[in-house]
Amino acid sequence: MTDAELIARALVTDDRAAFGLLVQRHQSAVRNFLRHLTRGDAALADDLAQETFVQAWRGLARFRGEANFATWLLGIAHNHWRNARRRQRNHTPLDETRETEFAVPATTGTSDLQHDLAAALRELSADEQLALHLGYQQGLSHGEIAALLDWPLGTVKTHLARSKEKLRHLLAAWNPQT
């Protein structure tokens, strides 16, 4: 069953099981995105992810289908994270320039390349990491990233191009074929 069909069932008949299938289908993407934003704080990310899905349930009627459902969810998640950060900032000052965590699975930690990649990614700015995460880990198009983050399209393209350029430079010493 497609996302659109599940959404219709959840909307028309308040079918929670249908919404549950949507949660199962998209939980990994949303939780990964929030883990990235919270710099790997899994507990906080999961709390925010739960709030994201509850908010999505409440606002399901507002989903018009212009965007991909997954992208819509990531937009809600991003708003929740921004609100949480604002609340947190009121209590403990946050370093705005601190970089976000780029998800690299622990299972690949043994690979030299993955290790080097993780280290190289940490050299990028938070915005560059975010653009890469959305573009490659979440598979969003440039337009979708621009809409989600409220960035101009040119900024998205610049961040992606610049971050790849930096990564190429940082990983220049790595050569798997020799």
């Binding site: 219709a8 909307l11 028309v12 008949t13 308040d14 929670r16 919404f19 549950g20 949660v23 199962q24 939980q27 990994s28 939780r31 990964n32 999961d46 992810a49 739960q50 899905f53 509850v54 349930w57 409440r58 606002g59 399901l60 009627a61 780029f102 998800a103 690299v104 699975p105 622990a106 299972t107 690949t108 390349l113 993955q114 990649l117 890469l132 490659y136 880990q137 979440q138 598979g139 790849k164 990564l167 190429r168 430079h169 990983l171 220049a172 010493a173 790595w174 050569n175 074929q177 020799t178």
Partner: protein, 129 residues
């Protein structure tokens, strides 16, 4: 070992390899009861799925109030209002014969049928509950 320069001739291949690496870096998180927790946290009544009647009523009242306010503010006289009301009354009286027109009845039937078809799922849900 000569390190590969990712900015030179193999640029396209390296770009593809880099992109593949970045895509691979996304771990698939297993659910581990997350969905169940979300479902348990959902509000009991999905009041916001359909706009509440009260909200529609408020909008109507505010709109009507704004219209009346505008009329009063523009200084429309009592006689103007009376003549307007008379004209509206005449129009409603003239509507009677039109309603008796079979074509008009057919058009009304088609409209009603279309509305029922368009909102059949909601109607079925309302009738069931």
């Amino acid at each position: 070992m000569e390190p590969a320069d990712l900015n030179t001739s193999a640029n396209t291949n390296d770009d593809a390899r880099l992109e593949a690496l970045l895509r691979r870096a996304a771990p698939e998180l297993s659910d581990h009861g997350f969905s169940a927790r979300v479902l348990a946290a959902l509000p009991a009544v999905t009041e916001s799925h359909t706009p509440a009647l009260s909200r529609r009523l408020v909008v109507c009242i505010v709109g009507a109030g704004a219209g009346c306010g505008l009329v009063l503010w523009r200084g429309v006289s009592g006689t103007e209002l009376e003549s307007g009301a008379d004209r509206l009354g005449d129009a409603l009286v003239n509507l009677g014969p039109s309603l008796a027109d079979p074509l008009f009845t057919a058009a009304l039937g088609v409209t009603l049928f279309s509305l029922v078809v368009a909102f059949r799922a909601e109607l079925r849900h309302k009738l069931r509950s």
